[in-house]
């Protein structure tokens, strides 16, 4: 009997150890006294699947006893502008967690998402697209961070009808904004031990506009000699993303290309339901689902309650790190990754059949 049980015991021991190692830190994080006081975070559930997934985050934060206190505000996409009380709250708390806001198509109402970013000057939008272990995708070894300029470019919203039947839209690129987004990208790469920064552009056609963007990137690149810098044209970039995504590391782009590249990268790495991201400025940060496609979702998903909460859960882990609660962030991330790699509770967009609540319960059960 001992001869039979020995290899089984060995197997069990080997199985347990990899799951324990991420949590055992070799160096302790030493907080300042009083850092454990609960921080207030503005919470905007939003439209569509927004309330479902933000509800998921609330439940998980509760279960972890995280020092976070949510201040909820109701905002819907068809409002004319962001209510001042919400903006005041974000300015006071400095951090916000947000579900998707539906932008009505061609209705003359400018997108509330864009308004919020301009109002709080959240000039960098970040999406981290990476392969989650256990989630099968067509592409391997994907770990791309897309940093996108969030305030100007094609989204300036300056359009006008010249004569009936001819419409002009202005794309504005300024040195100031290009410089600060390039600075953020290189700083991010430096602080997160990333090796390459790639600038995405179309300067062969838009010589002045994207040319200015590239100039700013090159200037900043010369100040970070340890980080490799290269440039790629946006159509070639999309082609390379689809065939050889492992060559990309950090990508910095103007507004519109960033939207496309981020959604393409999210699609190849597992879908927009699992990619975390957020918007950050000099004073404030708003965390939301990384890629913008599908953050409101279809009515069917809302009715069947099968929205994928993983993206927002990983974004809230990023938020916990931003608020300097690293061990809570680690616990949350480990639990989510374990649920994904086990593969038993997955929502429809990942090929499974679970509901949002089932995924949340699985995450809570996996919290250590």
């Amino acid at each position: 009997m001992a001869k039979r049980t020995l290899p089984i015991l060995k197997q069990l021991l080997h199985q347990r150890s990899p799951s324990l190692s991420p949590l055992s830190r070799s160096v302790t994080y030493m907080p300042r006294p009083g850092d454990g006081a609960p921080r207030t975070v503005t919470l905007i559930p939003g439209d569509g699947i927004g309330p479902l997934v933000t509800g998921a985050v609330e439940q998980v934060m509760d279960a972890m006893h995280a020092p976070i206190y949510f201040e909820k505000f109701d905002v819907h996409g068809d409002m004319k502008s962001f209510p001042t009380e919400v903006v005041e709250s974000i300015k006071k708390n400095k951090v916000c967690l947000k579900g998707g806001l539906n932008t009505p198509m061609g209705g003359g109402v400018s997108s509330l998402n864009v308004q919020l970013r301009k109002e709080l000057d959240l000039y960098a939008s970040l999406v981290n697209c990476f392969n989650l272990p256990g989630l099968p995708t067509r592409h391997e070894n994907v770990d791309i961070v897309v940093i996108r300029e969030n305030t100007e470019g094609e989204y300036a919203g300056l359009e006008h009808e010249v004569v009936p039947g001819v419409v002009e839209s202005l794309k504005v690129i300024t040195k100031f904004c290009s410089e600060r987004i390039a600075k953020y990208a290189f700083e991010y790469a430096y602080l997160n031990n990333r090796k390459t920064v790639t600038a995405v552009h179309k300067a062969n056609i838009m010589k002045l506009a994207d040319g200015l963007f590239l100039e700013s990137c090159r200037e900043i690149a010369s100040k970070y000699p340890s980080i490799k810098y290269n440039e790629i044209i946006v159509d070639n970039c999309c082609m390379q993303l689809v065939s050889k995504p492992e060559q990309f590391d950090v990508m910095v782009t103007p507004n519109l290309y960033g939207n496309l590249v981020a959604n393409t990268a999210a699609g190849i790495a597992g879908g927009t339901g699992v990619m975390p991201g957020g918007n950050v400025g000099a004073d404030h940060a708003v965390f939301e689902q990384g890629a913008s496609a599908g953050n409101v979702g279809k009515q069917k998903i809302v009715d069947q309650r099968t929205a994928n909460p993983v993206a927002l859960l990983l974004s809230s882990a990023m938020m916990l790190r931003h608020l300097q609660f690293p061990s809570f962030a680690d616990r949350l991330e480990t639990a989510v990754k374990r649920v994904i790699s086990e593969g038993k509770t997955r929502t429809k967009d990942l090929g499974g059949k679970s509901t949002t609540q089932e995924v949340v319960d699985a995450v809570i059960a996996n919290l250590e």
């Binding site: 061609g106 094609e154 009936p164 419409v167 202005l170 794309k171 838009m206 999309c238 959604n263």
Partner: protein, 376 residues
């Protein structure tokens, strides 16, 4: 032979009638390349302009000529080469005679051209586009059986508006450090490309047309584009029409390309999406492309580069140019010849015995061409 001509004339008249009765489109004249045959009663050969281009251009053009003559395609090639000095009438290296030839023949095939670096002349592609008023770029993207990429079941067509949009080239510096670039969308150009998109879908048996846009942010410009698409969609009730936001479109394309059929979009999105789709099926070396101009002009081209490093070594892959020529034949209504050549090419690649270097094989251009002729 006379019966062949009579049959083809009859078929053309019938399709002409069907087109006229089902669509009261005012732009009938735009697509009436089929009208040409009524006038040329002396020979049933269609004259087409051929630009072999630079680098590997001449070799792959040779390959196309061989395959076409083996398949008995009734096309007579008129070859034109890019000049060595700037022609003052066109401000570029493309001569006035070449442009006139395309305008006269209404059909052309272009190999890869390398624009020489320098000032004082326009880029070759820009010259062709502006002078021939090539307003739509059509790229059929379908997975090649036998050439494995990560996506196996791609079968879509991207139709991109080619004259305006973000690529108008109207930029200026407002003050130091602030640059503005104008994106122009006009009703006329949007209607034109939408008309072509639905006409293409109808004549090629496609069921769905999707317009790609970002009208939630750029409400007036992409809104105008969408309005034009909707107007044209009403004239084709049998074709399903939908609208997709570009970020959703990108995401869905990389997750599940079978969701799309025909995509029509303005210039910038079209550029990015058509290259993305080319990446899905294996790159620009395998993607056909067709440019449609005013007056029924069609210029098929290979969009890959001229690859000067393998020029003259008989190693080039003629697939892109061959498939572009096939789409040119479809445009000319020579569907049976087009299908025959396309099947031969696909079968040769699927078999795997003769593949050029870029597909992972070791055959030369001539061996590959011979294999295709063998499969006709």
């Amino acid at each position: 032979m006379a019966s062949q001509i009579a049959r083809r004339l009859l078929r053309r008249r019938v399709t002409n009638e069907i087109f006229m009765t089902t669509t009261r489109s005012p732009s009938m004249g735009l697509f009436s390349s089929f009208d040409r045959n009524y006038s040329s009663c002396s020979s049933n050969l269609i004259r087409a302009t051929l630009f072999p281009g630079d680098g590997i251009g001449p070799e792959i053009a040779e390959s196309v000529k061989k395959v076409f003559s083996a398949a008995d395609v009734p096309i007579e090639w008129e070859e034109h080469f890019v000049g060595t000095e700037v022609d003052p009438r066109t401000q570029s290296f493309v001569t006035w005679e070449s442009l006139e030839s395309v305008r006269r023949n209404k059909v052309g095939l272009k190999g890869p051209m390398a624009t020489p670096i320098g000032k004082g002349h326009r880029s070759l592609n820009l010259t062709l586009r502006k002078e021939l008023n090539l307003y739509a770029n059509v790229r059929p993207c379908y997975s090649l059986p036998g050439y494995k990429t990560r996506y196996d079941d791609v079968n879509l067509v991207t139709i991109r508006e080619n004259t305006e949009g973000e690529y108008s080239g109207l930029e200026h510096q407002v003050v130091r450090g602030v640059v503005e670039s104008l994106k122009i969308i006009t009703r006329q150009a949007s209607l034109r490309v939408a008309e072509y998109a639905f006409y293409y879908a109808k004549t090629h048996g496609r069921k769905r047309v999707s317009a790609v846009h970002k009208a939630n942010i750029m409400q007036k410009t992409d809104g105008l584009f969408l309005k034009c698409c909707r107007e044209v969609a009403e004239k084709y009730p049998e074709i399903k029409y939908e609208e997709v936001v570009i970020d959703n479109c990108c995401m869905m394309l990389v997750k599940n390309p079978t969701l799309f059929d025909v995509l029509v979009m303005p210039n910038l999105y079209g550029d990015i999406i058509s290259d993305l789709c080319a990446g899905l099926i294996g790159g620009l070396g395998l993607t056909p492309s067709l440019n449609i101009g005013e007056g029924g002009i069609a210029l098929a081209e290979a969009v890959h580069g001229s690859a000067p490093d393998i020029a003259g070594k008989n190693l080039a892959n003629p697939t892109a140019l061959l498939l572009s020529a096939v789409s040119m034949l479809h445009h000319l209504d020579l569907t049976d010849k087009a299908d025959m050549i396309q099947d031969a090419v696909l079968k040769t690649i699927a078999e795997g015995k003769y593949r050029t270097g870029d597909l992972g094989g070791s055959a030369t251009t001539t061996e590959f061409t011979k294999a295709i002729i063998g499969h006709l």
